[in-house]
Amino acid sequence: MIKLTNVSKAYPKGGLALKDISFHLAKGEFAFLTGHSGAGKSTVLRLIYADERPTSGEVRVSGFNVAELKSREIPMLRRRLGIVFQDFRLLEDRTAEENVAFALEVTGARRSAIPARVMRVLTQVGLAAKAQAYPRELSGGEQQRVAIARALVNEPTVFLADEPTGNLDERATRGIFQLLRDINASGTAVLMASHDLDLVRQASYRVIELQEGALVYDSAVDDSGDRAASP
């Protein structure tokens, strides 16, 4: 599904953000991407959704080779992905429903099919009742649910989350995390960047840890898949 092979990334201004990273995320797998601030978590995700290109190495995402992707193929890649961020990134002047519908309209989906698909994902994230609300009328947790619904509406094969709970309190965090687990349980691969160690520990998912741009720990490799033995 996602395969990084000896990936390095140097930003035009600044040093090496990633150094020789390799990992493989299988179909339907769930993995945490952890590390201190500035370790390169967001950079890994950016490479995966082709916001940046690797300086060297290979990034493959559901059949696409990011390094060689033509810029007009990038939208096609993104439609296979669901992406959420710490800051939600909703369109402020559209309702929850319109925000979700927008991701469908962009793909040229059949107009008549849009409302039903939008309501289905809003129901899935538990926000059907607030479909007509604008982002400013929603709590942080609710806004993140809208963002998740938007990411789900195109039925992605991979779900990327960059510190999705970074702005939320504990209760909302648990709610969002549970949603991501449900999404994963229905067969979608999830890669979630987080430095919330409590969250990472309480779940027995794979952990990939970065430190100053280098991959220093991968539970799937280092513990031969046995999470219980890891610290």
């Binding site: 959704y49 007009r72 939208p75 993104r78 990134r89 309209e105 962009v106 793909t107």
Partner: protein, 285 residues
């Protein structure tokens, strides 16, 4: 409604102030161009009025039979430059002189013989009223055997020529400068609209919108703004024109095609300005 049209209209509704501001800016830029255009077309009209008086007169040798002149008249009228050719007999010339020069009544009365020759007055078509064509016609008139002399106000026609050249050059330079300023101002306005929505553009890209999908509503919106600005500019120009004709002088307004050209100019700048701004923005981020 079409998705592109809906997104373009939504942008007006979501940012009414900025939209109104850009339409106003475009309107005033085009208004300046329009005012200049009004001055130009009125100047041109005034010059054309003056040029109407350009005339070549061929004086006929005394004693030439009128039939010969009448025959020549047909030939002259067939010249490509000639609008009309009129035969003025000796008697008509005298009558006209008497009427026009009333102060010299006595001089004319005392004449025992008409001293004025018959003549052929040739008017040229618009577009041929310049030195080169006037000279060519005069030369050909001299070729007729019965023509004694050919006159036209050479100095005057030359001055008119120069005036026209100056007007054209100034018009071109000033017009181009005004148009350039309008293009720059409108381009900047549209760029602001794009920048204001850069967050939205980033989100559109994130969910997989193609550049074309992002661009199209902007193009439509730019064209609509340009068109609205153009219409308002025509309205403002008409207001200015009404004031000028009421208090200053009789002037001409744009013809319908000219007015449409201004609106079209606005639309094209709005469209191209958007294409440029969005294109640059999309390439950069």
């Amino acid at each position: 409604m079409n998705l592109v049209a809906r997104e373009a209209l939504l942008a007006f509704r979501r940012a009414p102030l900025l939209s109104a501001l850009s339409v106003t800016t475009i309107a005033f830029s085009l208004f300046v161009v329009g005012l200049f255009g009004l001055v130009a077309i009125n100047l041109q009209r005034a010059l054309a009025n003056v040029a109407e008086r350009v005339e070549v007169v061929a004086y006929v040798l005394p004693g030439t039979p009128i039939e010969a002149s009448a025959l020549a008249l047909k030939d002259i009228e067939a010249f490509p430059e000639v609008q009309s050719a009129t035969y003025v007999s000796e008697d008509q010339a005298l009558a006209r002189a008497r009427a026009e020069l009333a102060e010299f009544q006595d001089v004319f009365r005392e004449l025992e013989r008409n001293p004025l020759p018959a003549s052929i007055e040739v008017k040229l078509k618009p577009g041929y009223r310049d030195v080169a064509h006037v000279n060519a016609v005069a030369e050909r008139l001299r070729g007729f055997g019965f023509v004694e002399d050919v006159r036209f106000g050479r100095d005057w026609v030359e001055k008119l020529d120069r005036l026209r050249q100056i007007a054209a050059a100034v018009g071109l330079v000033v017009g181009a400068a005004f148009a350039a300023v309008a293009i720059i101002i409108i381009g900047t306005t549209i760029r602001m609209a794009v920048l204001q929505r850069s967050r939205e553009i980033a989100i559109m890209r994130l969910v997989g919108a193609t550049d074309g999908f992002i661009r199209r509503p902007f193009l439509l919106q730019g064209a609509i703004k340009g068109m609205l600005g153009g219409l308002v500019a025509i309205g403002l120009s008409y207001g200015a024109y009404t004031l000028i004709t009421r208090y200053l002088l009789q002037a001409a307004f744009f013809s319908r095609p000219q007015a449409l050209a201004i609106v079209g100019f606005g639309m094209v700048i709005g469209f191209l300005g958007s294409a440029l701004s969005v294109g640059r923005h999309l390439r950069r981020v």
